[in-house]
Amino acid sequence: MNDLELQLKELILRRYGSLKNFCEIIEMPWTTLDSILKRGISKANISNVLKISHELGIDTESLASGKIVPAAGPDTLAAHFDGDGFTPEEMEEIKKYADYVRSRREE
């Protein structure tokens, strides 16, 4: 197992307790994750890499290039609001919630 994959495994174990728990959450067979960690992220199917990075909240491109970096922002963000556009203050409120979601995920 390479350094990147070892770091990834440690991150998963730290947050989810076991690889099995993590696999259940991302709906991926344990054998697939095991194979990815042993053979390397660079050889993995892109949809599997996306599943892993999305759940962990890490940047997919950085992961593919060998680094574990927190995702710059949310993958999906939508708002139900009255009106046509947001004021800077409203955008700040939305960003605040996105930051809260990210911090909760990292706990």
């Binding site: 999906t76 963000l77 939508a78 139900h80 609001f81 009255d82 939305i94 919630y97």
Partner: protein, 158 residues
């Protein structure tokens, strides 16, 4: 079980936390962010809360990306998809027929029977009108969208 309870149960089963937030801006009713939903604390009624929750769940199932800029055509399309998910989940053509069979005589009664806001019901009917045109038949019921909305039960010849 009310619509709101059903939606909350669905969110729970999907592992989506629902946060109630007192936003500074009254214009923000709800947010969806990576499998998390925030609902404004200002949403007073169960129908208001379920209308927003349904749309945010619609985003969970149908949206991808940052879709805050409504000047972007792709974002508007995703916003509509989420709303359509909410219309179909909360009302649907079967809901319109059920309201008719229950004896609802106007939009207010239908919204109350379906446990949705009048605004959501009106938006849904407008959407179905755009999709189906003048009328649409479901089993032995005909739903007219033009010239005005109405549901009629067809009578089979003896």
């Amino acid at each position: 079980m009310t619509n709101l309870e059903k939606l909350e149960e669905e969110a729970d089963q999907e592992g989506i936390p629902i946060d109630t937030i007192r936003f500074e801006s009254e214009r923000i009713k709800g947010l969806y962010c990576d499998g998390n939903i925030a609902l404004s604390a200002d949403l007073q009624t169960s129908a208001d809360r379920s209308a927003v929750l349904a749309e945010e769940l619609g985003h969970h199932y149908t949206s991808s990306g940052i879709i805050l800029d409504m000047n972007d055509t792709g974002n508007r399309k995703q916003e509509l998809q989420a709303r359509v998910w909410a219309y179909n989940r909360m009302i649907g053509l079967q809901g319109l027929i059920a309201a008719h069979r229950h004896g609802c005589r106007n939009r207010y009664e239908a919204a109350e029977y379906l446990d949705v806001t009048e605004e959501l019901l009106e938006e849904a009917v407008n959407y179905y009108r755009g999709k189906y045109g003048i009328m649409y038949q479901v089993d032995n019921f005909v739903i007219y969208f033009e010239p005005c909305f109405g549901v009629f039960e067809s009578i089979s010849p003896a």
